[in-house]
């Protein structure tokens, strides 16, 4: 019998599901510990986080926790994996379009010129000394990759702590660990992770690995009267043109799924080919709501 607990962390919803109801408390404790650690390591909005110290070091190298180091390395690997599309140096670009504080406090932002990202190659990581350095004025945003890393770590940690199968859902980015329940984990894939269970979308079953969804429909605001969203093209500093409003991807890990989903939004019309070439099953929803299933993603279970 699957038991589920919900809470909030990292500025989004947290869901922990276990196949042994008695293990739910231990699973939650394991997940909470991971989330607290990643928040302290990688939050762009906490004054005491490792990442904030890196971003405001005026070009000096900063000694960081091993977890922060790992989160930065993960973000750099995501950048390599996506050919530089999903780039951690978009922090400055996001600030320029008004996303310079916790999203709950972002309002209509004053117009500012877009700011292209410096590029992931500007980031220097010294693994032996556990230091990270970015040029003065370059700010990192580990946003999606750190959240996905936290989901992977949390699911694995909770499964180790409880000995049962665990699903961790951080704002729509899911990671699983341990043998899935019979038939798989039942998931609704849709535009908004906060949607009710009967919302339009597609029902799928996941047996392992990660499932992540990137969308332009949820985290958006206005800047000088124009609508902007948080998925930024690093080459321009502008929000990606909306060809696909939502991309959902399954992969071996949540980090990979999240990277591929975000890359799909940024790739626009080139996304289906890229996803196929790199072996990522995906569900893409265009601006009108039309759906494409890629790479073995099932077509059954769509509902409007």
């Amino acid at each position: 019998m699957v038991a589920v607990a919900t809470s909030r962390a990292l500025g989004t919803s947290v869901q922990v599901a276990v196949t042994d109801g008695e293990a739910l408390g231990a699973a939650r404790a394991a997940v909470d510990e991971i989330l607290a650690a990643i928040d302290l390591a990688a939050s762009r909005f906490r004054e005491d986080s490792d990442l904030t110290r890196v971003n405001h070091a005026d070009g000096a190298g900063v000694s960081v926790s091993r977890l922060c180091l790992r989160a930065v390395q993960t973000a750099l690997r995501v950048a390599v994996m996506t050919g530089g599309l999903v780039d951690p140096t978009v922090g400055s670009s996001l600030e320029a379009i008004g996303y310079d504080r916790d999203f709950s406090a972002v309002g209509d932002a004053p117009p500012q010129p877009a700011r292209a990202a410096a590029g992931w190659r500007a980031v220097e990581v010294d693994e032996r000394r556990s230091t990270v350095r970015v040029p003065a004025g370059v700010h990192l945003d580990l946003g999606s990759s750190a959240k996905a890393l936290a989901a992977d770590d949390a699911a694995a940690s909770a499964a180790r702590a409880t000995g049962c199968a665990v699903l961790v859902n951080l704002g729509g980015d899911l990671s699983t660990s341990g043998p899935a329940p019979e038939g798989g984990w039942e998931i609704l894939v849709t535009d908004d992770h906060g949607a009710p269970p009967d919302a339009p979308g597609q029902m799928v079953r996941v047996r392992g690995g990660g499932l992540a969804t990137s969308s332009t429909t949820v985290r958006h605001w206005t800047q000088g009267g124009r609508s902007v969203h948080h998925i930024v093209d690093p080459s321009t500093g502008e929000p990606a043109r909306v060809v696909w409003r939502t991309a959902s991807v399954t992969a071996a890990t949540c980090v990979e799924a999240n990277a591929a989903a975000t890359a799909a939004i940024l790739l626009g019309t080139r996304a289906p080919q890229w996803l196929l070439e790199h072996g990522f099953p995906a569900r893409l929803v265009d601006g009108s709501g039309a759906v494409q299933h890629i790479g073995g993603w099932p077509s059954e279970g769509e509902r409007r």
Binding site: V4, Q73, R77, V80, M81, G83, G84, R121, A122, V123, E124, V125, D126, R128, D152, A156, N169, G172, L174, G183, G184, E186, I187, L188, T190, D192, H193, G194, A195, P197, A199, G201, Q202, M203, V204, V206, R207, G208, G209, A212, T213, S214, S215, T216, V218, T250, A251, A252, T253, V255, E256, A259, W274, E277, H278, G279, P281, W297, P298, G301
Partner: protein, 100 residues
């Protein structure tokens, strides 16, 4: 019985030396092959998979070679399954995956 001459003694000694060298070479070859097999098995058991991204991602400095368009899979701390598409669902959802 003829007495061995210094020349025949030297030839016998040389032949025995060459024979020992051949045996040693053979044993060394077998040993090297066995060690290679053991090392391969250990590597296969302990490394989840090769990743171009892992090899290329900067570990200690910036300025890695150009990786544009690489698209390799990421390494994982734990053994992870390959990219599997989900199956069709239909029951009550345990979780919702959507944008946030």
């Amino acid at each position: 019985m003829p007495r061995p001459t210094p020349t025949s003694l030297a030839q016998r000694s040389r032949d025995e030396g060459l024979s020992r060298l051949r045996r040693l070479t053979w044993v060394a070859g077998i040993g090297a092959a066995a060690l290679t097999a053991v090392a391969s098995l250990i590597a296969a058991e302990t490394i989840p998979g090769h990743s171009q991204a892992a090899a290329a991602a900067p570990a200690s400095s910036s300025g890695s070679p150009d990786q544009s368009g690489s698209g390799a899979q990421l390494p994982s701390d734990q053994q992870a399954p390959a990219n599997q598409p989900p199956g069709p669902g239909g029951g009550a959802p345990i979780a919702v995956s959507g944008g946030s």
